[in-house]
């Protein structure tokens, strides 16, 4: 049924936007610091949890923004620790911080799923009713990606970040504070993760351990662009979300995970075969 398809597409694009945002957070951090940030999913969860609390006292819009701000600060804190060591060790540090985040999340918000109200109402698309909130997700994500692109290519700070990503040694030679740029990248990653959590939670409850699925899907989206290209991450995220929605709709919802992860592993291996890299001195 065409109407079913339209419905699946919209919901798939919505969740896909969430994955793309997480993925772009991974990209922002990786490009500048070469660190794969395992806490990226935690940023989303913290953002979502904070929003669920803030929105009981703050109006819509303000509450979500405040939550994103908190997530950005958390990103900065993670960055402060992660940038003190090599990228390989930093991976484990971010993993440790993600686990520590569980403790904080359960302590403050408990271990049950949480959600909050998003954009109310439903919209008719080709004869099928779709929650209006999905449109909000898409409507916020696309401009955010556009803004990011402009930031990295048109602003001085953005170009300095790109420079650090392109050639950290040369960046240091000309006096760019590479560590500070790294912290900025982590803060941006935090904000993007927080935004993902805030946008997606109204249609998908979040628990303290939701970060695992989020980061795996975000990574799957980002890996398509080699962890360095935001535009490709967006495409990857959307594709992933739509594929999952179609599988859930036409097939078995339980197989979503396998499809997504299987695709991701296939892509990784394919890239590795095409471009074999040797790695010196692992962790």
């Amino acid at each position: 049924m065409l109407s079913d398809l339209a419905g699946y597409l919209v919901t798939g694009l919505g969740t896909g936007c969430g994955y793309a945002l997480i993925g772009s957070g991974l990209v922002a951090v990786y490009r500048v610091t070469r660190v794969v940030n395992f806490a990226q999913g935690a940023f989303a969860v913290v953002g979502a949890m904070c929003a669920s609390s803030f929105l009981s006292v703050l109006p819509h819009g303000i509450g979500e923004l405040a939550a994103v701000a908190v997530a950005a600060v958390v990103g900065l804190l993670v960055g402060l620790l992660a940038t003190t060591t090599t990228p390989q060790s930093a991976l484990i540090v971010t993993l440790g911080l993600a686990v520590f985040a569980y403790a904080v999340e359960v302590l403050v918000w408990g271990d049950q799923p949480r959600s909050f109200a998003g954009l109310p109402g439903a919209v008719s698309i080709v004869d099928t009713r779709v929650q209006a909130h999905y449109l909000l997700i898409i409507g916020v994500t696309l401009p955010v990606f556009a803004a990011m692109a402009m930031f990295f290519t048109r602003t001085d700070t953005g170009k300095a970040l790109t420079a650090c990503a392109s050639n950290p040694y040369a960046a240091r030679v000309i006096g760019i504070d590479v560590r500070r740029m790294g912290l900025l990248a982590f803060t941006i990653g935090g904000a993007l993760g927080g935004l993902a959590g805030v946008l997606v939670t109204p249609v998908q409850q979040v628990t303290f351990d939701s970060d695992v699925t989020l980061i795996v899907n975000g990574f799957a989206a980002a890996i398509l662009g080699g962890l360095t290209r935001p535009a490709v991450t967006l495409v990857g995220g959307l594709l992933l979300g739509v594929t999952q929605a179609l599988v859930a709709g036409y097939g078995n919802a339980a197989h979503q995970t396998e499809i997504a992860l299987g695709l991701m592993i296939a892509v990784m291996i394919w890239r590795a075969i095409r471009r074999p890299e040797t790695q010196e001195a692992p962790a």
Binding site: K159, A160, T162, A165, N167, I174, G175, I176
Partner: protein, 222 residues
């Protein structure tokens, strides 16, 4: 301008620079020659603050700009962006003066630095360093991998800068002949130690050095 006294720099247990002393005065062009692995890049990295001395002292009066070995331009950014980043530390955004000295960079300004030839990239690297309006320029391996004509062109620009604006230059080079031709004074660095120093023409006539660095035949001026 640059004063290095008994500098010791280590990489873990290995000593890269062992009590090195040298100086560059205002407006001077000084060469530092020596083979691969002698520690020349280590010295420049210490001068620009990337490495820290284990002992001894480094003092730089005025601004030092470092042109790193291997060009090291930001390939994903345009030439213009590369230049502007060079001035970022000192809030210099105006690329005009650098365009005046190196007109080719004005022509290339919107090209992605990664698509340029080696010589053009070297020019970008020099221009990027000049953006900080330095008093002394430390250039690491200017000629590496570049055609002689291209190098000659760059050298002309450096001479101009030195004569017209009093820019001091520390030229770190494997190509000893080039370095000794351009600079009035030179040091020879081998395995982390200064093994010779003095006016370039004297060094050029030294038998040992000629054998090691100048192709074996002493200049037959006498």
């Amino acid at each position: 301008m640059i004063e290095v006294k008994d500098l010791v720099v280590r990489y873990g247990p290995a000593t890269a620079l062992d009590e090195v002393s040298l100086h560059v005065d205002d407006g001077e062009m000084v060469a530092l020659i020596g083979p691969n692995g002698a520690g020349k890049s280590t010295l420049v990295n210490t001068l620009s603050g990337i490495l820290k001395p284990a002992a001894g002292s480094v003092s730089v009066r005025g601004r030092l700009a470092h042109v790193p070995e291997g060009r090291q331009v930001f390939g994903d950014l345009t030439v213009e962006d590369n230049l502007r980043l060079g001035g970022r530390r000192y809030r210099q955004r105006d690329t005009g003066p650098v365009h005046a000295i190196l007109p080719r960079l004005a022509e290339l300004r919107h090209r992605r630095a990664g698509t340029l030839s080696g010589g053009e990239q070297q020019m970008v690297a020099v221009g990027r360093a000049l953006m900080s309006r330095p008093d002394v320029l430390a250039i690491d391996e200017l000629s590496l991998g570049l055609a002689p004509l291209v190098v000659a062109d760059l050298v002309t620009h450096l001479r101009e800068l030195n004569e017209q604006q009093g820019l001091a230059v520390l030229l770190i080079e494997q190509n000893a002949r080039l370095a000794l031709d351009l600079c009035a004074r030179a040091y020879v660095l081998e395995a982390g130690r200064i093994v010779a120093e003095g006016p370039s023409d004297e060094l050029a006539r030294d038998d040992r050095l000629a054998a090691a660095y100048l192709g074996g035949v002493v200049a037959d001026a006498e």
